[in-house]
Assembly symmetry: C2
Homo-oligomer: 761 residues x 2
């Protein structure tokens, strides 16, 4: 929702909008004798009992996010729309106080900065903390149990206005993010009781907001089967098939001519069919207004009744909007839907709520959580740690970490639009935070350091340089805002920003450029020998300024890696946003998308420097030739062959070992990245593909640690033009680190193996 904040600012005078997310009274209320309150039954049986008690009119009322409940039955009103992208956040279904208790929650960095840490444990911990705080809000009747997070659409074009919400461009990283974060949110893998109900959004191929007159509400994403299977669908497969997310949101766009919310191929063939996402409680919501958009923007149906009917019949259970409550009743009268379809939809919705303990007694899990469990010191420490782990060092001529003597104050000239950034550090879909620490605020607590702060386009800048500060710290973001509903036209710094940095750097005073916010081309800073260091921080959250200062002063050593490609400025001139394809195409001029297909990046995906040096060595397996059929037959317990580990050692329980040695003098974490490369499977061949990573912690100077890189057979596979996932015989290389430090070559022999046969449209 682009105008969510404006909408929330409007007072709502009708009774149904009074906040009331309280639990139904299963002890004394009208439902007490309904089987929905019988904890001895299955979620499905319990939900069925509830639905059996409803009239058809009552059922029709419950088909949208702002559910009025059924007063007669003692079923409270319930807003399915919660947000928690990186902390419990503002949403129609979340009620913050203006001050005091319940006026904030822990506000973590945006996913784009989270995933730069390449630390799976961290992602799980974030999800767990958010779910704890969400449960506390729920116990206070301030939120529901449903949160429409995470945003799993990979960041396929640098102009996209919502890229900050995502874990970056790489499907492997996206899948790791989903598996850890969603599992943290839901309270474990496929738990008996959901801690909260997570919602993977947006299914599918959604990543264009508003670009040169194209509008997400009516956009038709034309996607090849190959791109769909190998890229766009991969995150949803992780959510639905593997991580067992409770809920999925359908997107605004059409896919190859058919709007997402009425797309039987994607819903029946893929999601519920091929991936078997059919557990009780697996409900689908539309994105907000997306059902309406099928009529107003896609013009996919002749009437509004046909529109709501198509969505319900396709399996969309919640209309975030007013179309269902307005038109579903007449759709039923017209015979466009069956009551049994409505029942099936409500069964999914209420099975989910049952499984979240909504109809359970107050002594069930998480019901003890209170305000004391929100934004705790431990949670805020985690928010700081995530930011520290997520800050990427892109250039350093030795000025970093900044040395501060106790003898003489270090004078730092602070310049740029984000030097005192607070809410900007949070990015979008944020909730209020207890505190927001800007870089300048954090610097003021550093001993033996004083700051000079100057306005941007004014002469005091010159006079400030004339005072000869010891260091210039420039902190800014692109002026071209990316936002929901609005993509960018450029991916460059303003010429004025570059000019000012050049002017400052020419002074001879060491200058550190800190790149916040959206991705833009840093080449002017990277290539300028007078710019001493370049640091990328994205959206580092409530304590982002503190994290930045901790990294700059060496309290924390940076070890993050860029989870996306930093493209050169002219990249956006070469390929329109609306070209959804990835492979370079000499006819269209598309130079390729993502590090897998584009080889002219300003900063490569996975790049990141340290305050020390590391060397890597792959522990050589005794053999470098593997028979495909043997690999597959050893998979045994894995439900899907692509999840089966590739174990190259004769000891078949080990994943690939990489010894990482700190050859410098500063202790540091290190992210071991493994890519696969080779000319196997269908041409053209990707440059390389990430297949495993592990973050190693606190490797002391002169010390080594071993990364165990769990490469799966899926990581070695390719998708053919029909979307089939196949393990091909051929020559493979494993490349460790960016740029590559170590390589191991091997071959797969035998005949190709069909790992996943893709359902054809």
């Amino acid at each position: 929702m682009k105008d969510l904040s404006a909408m929330l600012a409007l007072l709502a005078l009708l009774p149904s909008l009074v906040w009331a997310q309280q639990y139904p009274d299963c002890q004394h209320g009208p439902l007490a004798n309904n089987s929905v309150c019988n904890t001895g039954l299955s979620p499905r049986e319990r939900a069925q009992g509830l639905i059996n008690a409803m009239t058809v009119g009552e059922k029709l009322n419950l088909t949208h996010n702002n559910s009025p409940g059924v007063a007669r039955l003692g079923l409270p009103s319930y807003n399915w729309w919660g947000e928690a992208l990186h902390g419990v956040a503002a949403a129609p279904g979340v009620n913050f106080s203006d001050s005091g208790e319940w006026s904030y929650a822990t506000s973590f960095p945006q996913p784009i900065t989270m995933t730069a840490a390449f630390d799976n444990g961290l992602l799980y911990a974030i999800g767990d903390v958010i779910a704890t705080e969400a449960r506390a809000y729920n116990n206070a009747n301030r939120s529901g149990l449903d949160y429409w997070t995470p945003d799993i659409n990979p960041f396929r074009d640098p102009r996209w206005g919502r890229g900050q919400e995502t874990p970056g461009e790489d499907t492997y990283v996206v899948k790791q993010y989903i598996d850890n974060y969603v599992t943290g949110l839901q309270g474990g893998h496929n738990p008996a009781t959901y801690k909260v109900i997570a919602t993977c959004k947006h299914f599918v191929a959604y990543n264009m907001e508003g670009w040169q007159g194209n509008n997400r509400y009516g956009y038709d994403a034309i996607v090849s089967t190959q791109d769909l299977a190998e890229y766009y669908m991969q995150p949803s497969q992780q959510c639905a098939r593997d991580t067992k997310v409770a809920s999925i949101m359908y997107s605004y766009n059409a896919i190859n001519g058919i709007p997402a919310c009425a797309n039987p191929y994607n819903i029946d063939s893929i999601l519920r069919g091929h991936w078997n996402w059919t557990a009780d409680g697996n409900y689908i919501t539309s994105d907000c207004t997306a059902i309406q958009n099928m009529f107003t923007d896609h013009h996919a149906f002749d009437s509004r009744q046909q529109t709501v009917g198509a969505a319900l019949n396709a399996g969309v259970d919640v209309d975030c909007g007013f179309y269902n409550p307005t038109y579903l009743s007449s759709a039923l009268s017209l015979g466009l839907i069956e009551e049994s379809t409505l029942d099936q939809s409500l069964l999914r919705l209420y099975s989910g709520l049952v499984r979240a303990g909504y109809f359970d007694p107050p002594n069930t899990p998480w019901r003890h959580l209170t305000w004391k469990n929100v934004s705790t010191p431990k949670a805020e420490d985690l928010a700081l740690k995530v930011a520290e782990e997520g800050i990427v060092l892109l250039k350093n001529n030795g000025v970093l970490p900044v040395t501060i003597s106790e003898d003489k104050n270090l004078t730092v000239l602070l310049v740029g639009g984000w030097i005192n950034a607070t809410t900007q550090l949070q990015g979008n879909y944020a909730g209020p935070a207890r505190t927001l620490v800007s870089p300048w605020m954090a610097l003021q607590n550093v001993s033996n350091l004083e700051t000079i702060v100057v306005q941007w386009y004014e002469s005091p800048l010159i006079r400030a340089i004339d005072t000869q500060p010891d260091l210039i710290l420039w902190i800014d973001s692109t002026n071209e805002a990316a936002a929901e509903g609005e993509d960018r036209n450029t991916i460059r710094w303003d010429n004025l920003q570059i000019d000012a940095v050049e002017m400052l750097a020419t002074s001879g005073i060491p200058l550190i450029a800190v790149h916040m916010g959206e991705q833009v081309d840093d080449s002017a800073f990277l290539s300028n020998p007078n710019v001493s260091a370049v640091v990328w921080a994205g959206y580092p959250g409530m304590l982002g300024g503190q994290a930045l200062v901790n990294v700059l002063t060496g309290k924390v050593a940076p070890a993050a890696r860029l989870p996306l490609t930093q493209y050169p400025t002219d990249y956006v001139d070469l390929v329109p946003m609306t070209d959804m394809s990835f492979r370079p195409n000499s006819t269209t001029g598309n130079p390729g998308r993502t590090y897998k297909w584009y080889d002219n990046a300003t900063v490569e995906f996975g790049y990141g420097l340290h305050y020390t040096n590391f060397s890597t060595a792959i522990t050589s397996p005794s053999t470098s030739s593997f028979d495909i059929q043997s690999l597959v037959s050893a998979c045994g317990t894995y439900a899907h062959a692509d999840q089966c580990p590739f174990r190259p050692y004769s000891n078949t329980t080990s994943s690939l070992s990489v010894q990482v040695s700190n050859t410098g003098s500063t202790g540091s974490d290190f992210v071991a990245l493994a890519f696969v490369s080779g000319n196997y499977g269908p041409a053209p061949y990707p440059i390389k593909s990430l297949v495993a990573y592990e973050r190693l912690f606190g490797i002391g100077p002169g010390k080594s640690q071993t990364a165990n890189l769990n490469i799966t057979l899926g990581g070695l596979s390719r998708h053919d033009e029909n979307g089939n996932q196949i393990l091909y015989p051929g020559s493979y290389s494993i490349l460790v680190d960016v740029p590559t430090q170590s390589t191991w070559n091997f071959t797969l022999t035998g005949t190709q193996y069909m790992m996943d046969e893709w359902p054809q449209a």
Copy 2:
């Protein structure tokens, strides 16, 4: 400045940024014996005395907006950058308190709504009030005497992000706005002492922010000589040649390859040459960073020193930016500028300040004004009146004015994003206001009326309709923001907005759609018989909600006219913003720009309905044939032939008389508009051109008033391909009202007369 608000939020710690706009001490300070303090000398002599006392280093320090002054001489620091587009506004040179005294000023509607009133007296009165309040702020050392207002670039493309700042698309209206508003600001026509120094901006052909990757900082406007002379230059001609504005701002863009800030043709040949804008104190400022942009974005010079030198040599006296203080000194050393050029520049700057009384004793004009003179009840009444006069009625099936019975409360369902708009009513370049009255707030004070307010995308809307309110009032603006630095891609309502209005209107309850903010295509509302009325209000200022309610309830009868064309949605697909031309062009597909050249508008320029009916009758002159040479020879006292009135009656002192009769039953103002049309001069011929207007006040039912429409010879002229303004023989028609109600045809005979020979580049 796009990021002005962010910039202002940064604290500035250097001493020079402490607020200090105080007057120099001419009694006891070091300047007491300098001739600048001698009120018996001319402004030029006084300024020369000041400059004579300066070292060259001191002079170099004074060449930018945030002037440090010369402490040695007792010349205070001074920030030339004030803003007052529609009230004293936030700017680096204006210092509001956080609360209490000096925390606000009268905030009028935006110019686009002001000019919809077609009331010249009102424009003068607004300028006068703003100058009074500006003087009060200045007396409190809270602002300077320079205000960078008005924005005179005509609104040539509906996507332009700054159109709201302008008086619309028509050069005649723009010129009337300038003449009245600037004269009000400056304290009279070419006054001995300026009340404030007004600055016409931006010279020239500036009206593209950021559109599909084009950026105003480096944009090269390719403009034909004909379009330049007849359209883009007309407002500046009014400012410089006729209204005698004190100051002019140069724009970011280049014109035909040469950046505005170093364009000798525009500056020397046109502005200072052809228009003789050479009075003492006629200074030029760059737009903020525009000098820097000549280097960074236009790449017009090889070095920064050449850049600042070119600007100074071209006649730009103030750099709003840091380039002059940084690089002008070395430019001087390199011989790129002469000290005498610097002296000439400072002479203009300080002559202007002298003429504003800056070096005068405290008993001089306007120095008595205090906080008591700010946002007075009278000033706020004017703000209300401007909004009331500027609201345009586009459609009415009789529902308006709303009838409220004393017997039974009228229930109004309020829907839409702007129902509780407050700061949105102000638009950009606004200052804080004492109060901001939203439509909803104003409705709550209407007796016998109750409101139901609902959220936008939620089911309560449906339930609210089910309660059968008497009236639905939908108030919204397009969701696609226009902003400085950001043009729009579309000129349509969201399909969701149209759909919601259609849904509401289908209920059979009368629905009034109020179109606020940017111009978008209302055709869906105008053509929908279920939409009872459509009202346009633009940005109606601090009391805009009250003004709207006063119009809706009939307390005030609407009489405004749209000062711009409302284009159909697909218009923007037909012509890129970067096509600067006006005439339809079958090769490029340009369908024509403005009502003069485009004939397929959704709502025509000048359209507006009333609560009554009016008929018009032109008082027929005794002759319908006029000899060009006789007309010209009768001009006598006019400095420029285009200003000479066309007097069609034998009584040669009268302008064209139009009798306006109110044939309905409601008293109302009426705006008499006169256009000229005909196939004379160079082909192609404009459809028509506005040549005169007059707003008549309070015409009672059954009553008549006479409009005296002062058509000039300039209004009858055309511009040829070389930009020459020529009076041509031919057949002319005067068309009164929109749509045309009365016509008078006449001919001009004799040979064509060269009214203004345009200097060729």
